[in-house]
């Protein structure tokens, strides 16, 4: 926060992404700048309008001069930075991460409500994931259909925590949270009570709309029928910023 009356100075930084010269505001992340310039960086947990958590690791990029990889969603641009978004190594890492995700729970596209509208599926196609090398884990997961209008299917959840964030940051209800560690981690409503019994849930449906897969969907949707409408999110964030 700057002191009252001080003029906000916008710093301009120049950098290179995949060899392309780019100008950016100093407070922008690599991901924002890349998207502005038509360079695609794959993401799963990121969603415009929500805070960044850097959890899916798909947006990792190389920065010249460092052996480490950096998540584009949380790394701010710096003057003279040379970023590589597409390299063979990164493509392979991204594919392995996707394979791990597909093998972790029961992502069976052909019977999924979100088939053809699923971000995980789209990513797999886009990144050239033709098969899964690691064994499928086939965990026993539950489905919570206790809510009047929505269903939570743990089988399809990738733990991106978009639902947790949208509920906390935009709706202000904080119905969603996480419990458990490692493979046992899962999203819960209230203190792990059935969604339908939740006292904090306002049934606004934002969590359903931001969910990248078929883990959260509207009751009654059948295979391929659940497409998500997200236009509200940037609109809400923009309106709130204007009011501020």
């Amino acid at each position: 926060m700057s002191p009252v009356g001080a003029k906000q100075q916008v710093q301009i930084k120049t950098l290179k992404i995949d060899g392309k010269d780019i100008g950016a505001r100093g407070d922008q992340t690599i991901l924002e700048v890349a998207r502005e310039n038509g360079i695609d960086i794959p993401t799963l947990c990121n969603l415009n309008g929500l805070s960044e958590v850097g959890a899916c690791r798909l947006c990792l990029v190389e920065i010249k001069g460092s052996p480490k990889l950096f998540p584009a969603c949380t790394t701010r641009v710096e003057e003279g930075m040379e970023v590589t978004v597409n390299s063979e190594r990164l493509a392979e890492y991204r594919r392995v991460i996707l394979e791990l995700t597909f093998a972790e729970r029961n992502h069976v596209c052909s019977v999924c409500v979100s088939n053809t509208h699923c971000e995980l599926q789209t990513l797999a196609q886009k990144l050239g994931m033709t098969h899964v090398r690691v064994p499928y884990m086939h965990p026993q997961m539950t489905v919570d259909a206790s809510h009047q209008r929505f269903v939570l299917d743990h089988n399809r959840c990738v733990l991106c925590t978009r639902c947790v964030r949208v509920c906390d940051e935009i709706e202000g209800a904080h119905t969603w949270d996480l419990m458990g560690r490692g493979l046992d981690a899962r999203v819960i409503t209230d203190l792990n009570e059935p969604w339908g019994k939740s006292e904090s849930c306002t049934s606004c449906g934002k969590c359903v709309m931001v969910c990248p897969t078929g883990a959260l969907f509207e009751k009654g949707a059948s295979v391929r029928e659940m497409s998500k409408r997200r236009a509200f999110l940037p609109y809400l964030t923009m309106m709130r910023e204007v009011r501020r």
Binding site: G54, A55, I97, E104, R133, P135, M137, R181, G182
Partner: protein, 555 residues
């Protein structure tokens, strides 16, 4: 409280000690206590009381003496050490020890202090462990405690303090080895003058087989408080937290007592040494999550949130606890601070190697004769630690590997035992210094099984936030299980290496990034064992047995 008053307390305490003709120290740290050293202490006290000697002989509970394998330990007049003293109230051991006070020591219990285990140590962090009563602040003051704090606050500027720490070359003892002076100066310069800052002590020691921090907290809690207070003065913090795991009830109890005692004497709290500097220290208990040893997860946990790491930068030095600049160091790092201020940075820098200064506390565990706690100068060889101080491998077995750094570290084979112990050399071998756990293994350990054990640990301790760590460690564990059950193929080995690379390079925090290390080093140095499991279905240690198809199905 000023320096003169402090020295008065020290003098009175030394006077008190001089009254006694004999001093008997009984270890009451967790190791010996679990062997009922409290009974030994009561036994000695009753024995002395019955003989009317309680005025001339002092029985004192002290911190860890190091050789936990031989507990309960008793030390008489700083000269004679007794091992495995029978924890019975009116046992023969206790009676004999008391009877021998004015004559020759009890030979059948005596333990030579000339052993390499005692002689070859260099004690800075543990200098008071085993000598002072951890539950009395006066004893700590009598050996020069809190002098460094009062000197720093009254005669040095914060920048001077940071300069001394920088000069000392001290590096973080939590594992990664980040230069402490650099960290302090970053926090000192962070924010604007008067901004709220915090100091945090990371006492969430979670590596299997490691108990250095617990021992320091149980044996000499004031040393850690003093280090924290000096750090707080240097970086401009007025509030501190000790994040200690709840599995250490004795350490927590002694810390709480120590904080209270220090506050009563005005060594913590407001206006320390009549200056404007004050520090309030609180304890926060961890709920047994390994990942909470990672600094950003630890901070989230103190804030009352789920203990999950977040991407850095911003580093805690810029934005830490509740968004304020925060200094976070390990127990052992803080324990080194007071001696550095007391003796100067150059003195500390004269110990150790060029890039790794000072000493390091190691917890020896596993197949070694002298299990326990040692403090050695940096640069000592692993061979000296294991075979000289550690006394070698018991039962005439053959040494196979030493594991350093816990689940984040790796296994070192015989051929590298002459490498000096410092941050860089260990990194070169594919392992890390870590917090100081050292597990020694002999030929009865199967290295694939060891790798599986650590992967199982990482798998169940992963917080579940990022995909490579959550799903990758689980898949790796599955592959290792397959190998130990002799069901694996060479393709599995190749897949395992790919997964190791991905998990290491793409995980969010140190837990995932270092989780493949045990696999990486065992694969590097003991590849033949992996191949034997896969090709000829053999386990040279006899730990793993092939799993038949029928058994696999019935599972």
């Amino acid at each position: 409280m000023n320096l003169d008053e402090l020295r008065n307390i020290a003098r009175e305490e030394q006077e008190r000690h001089r009254q006694y003709k004999h001093r008997i120290h009984v270890c009451v740290a967790a190791g010996c206590l679990s062997a009922r050293s409290d009974q030994v202490k009561i036994g000695l006290e009753t024995e002395l009381h019955e003989r009317g000697l309680e005025k001339t002989c002092q029985v004192k509970g002290v911190g860890c003496m190091g050789l936990c394998a031989a507990g309960p330990l008793v030390m008489v007049d700083d000269q004679v050490m007794y091992r495995n003293v029978q924890p019975v109230l009116d046992g023969a051991d206790v009676t004999e020890i008391v009877e021998s006070l004015d004559s020759k020591p009890v030979e059948r219990l005596a333990l030579s202090t000339e052993l390499s285990f005692f002689k070859d140590q260099r004690k800075i962090v543990l200098e008071n462990s085993g000598n002072i009563d951890p539950e009395r602040i006066e004893e700590y003051i009598a050996v020069g405690g809190y002098e460094a704090l009062l000197t720093a606050v009254t005669t040095m500027s914060p920048a001077d303090v940071v300069a001394q720490v920088t000069k000392s070359g001290l590096r973080g003892r939590g594992g990664a080895g980040f230069p402490t002076g650099l960290k302090w100066s970053t926090v000192m310069k962070a924010g604007r003058v008067g901004d709220k800052k915090y100091v945090i002590c990371n006492a969430d020691e979670g590596d299997p087989g490691a108990f250095m921090d617990r021992s320091v907290l149980e044996s000499d809690p004031h040393r850690v408080l003093e280090g924290m207070a000096i750090a707080a003065y240097a970086v401009g913090a007025d509030h501190g937290y000790i994040y200690c795991r709840a599995e250490y009830p004795l350490a927590v109890k002694r810390l709480k007592l120590a904080i209270k005692q220090a506050e009563n004497l005005g060594l913590l709290g407001n206006n320390i040494a009549d200056s404007r500097f004050g520090l309030k220290i609180e304890i926060r208990l961890g709920a047994g999550a390994f990942v909470c040893g990672e600094e950003t997860a630890l901070i989230a946990s103190i804030e009352g949130k789920r203990g999950m790491p977040r991407p850095r930068p911003p580093y805690p030095a810029q934005e830490g606890l509740w968004g304020c600049p925060t200094l976070i160091n390990n127990v052992e790092t803080y324990a080194n601070v007071a001696p550095i201020i007391r003796n100067g940075g150059e003195w500390f820098a004269s110990i150790g190697t060029e890039k790794s200064k000072g000493t390091k506390v190691f917890a020896l565990a596993g197949r070694v004769e002298n299990t326990g706690l040692i403090e050695v100068p940096m640069g000592i060889t692993l061979r000296d630690i294991i075979f000289k101080l550690g006394g070698g491998i018991p039962d005439g077995r053959k040494f196979k590997a030493v594991q350093t750094g816990g689940p984040s570290g790796g296994c070192i084979p015989e051929e590298f035992l002459d490498m000096p112990v410092d941050y860089e050399s260990l990194n070169k071998l594919g392992t890390i210094m870590g917090s100081g756990g050292m597990i020694i293994m002999d030929e009865t350990s199967c290295m694939v099984d060891v790798a599986k054990y650590f992967m199982d640990f990482c798998r169940s301790e992963s917080c579940g936030k990022c995909i490579p760590c959550r799903a990758g460690t689980a898949q790796l564990h599955e592959l290792l299980t397959k190998i130990t059950e002799m069901r694996a193929t060479n393709e599995d080995l190749a897949l395992m290496q790919t997964l190791c690379e991905v998990v290491k390079n793409t995980s969010l925090c140190g837990l995932g990034q270092s989780a493949p290390n045990p696999v990486g080093t065992t694969l590097r140095y003991f590849r033949n064992e992996y191949e034997a499991h896969i090709d000829s279905h053999e386990c040279c240690a006899g730990v793993c047995a092939p799993k038949t198809k029928a058994a696999g199905v019935s599972e």
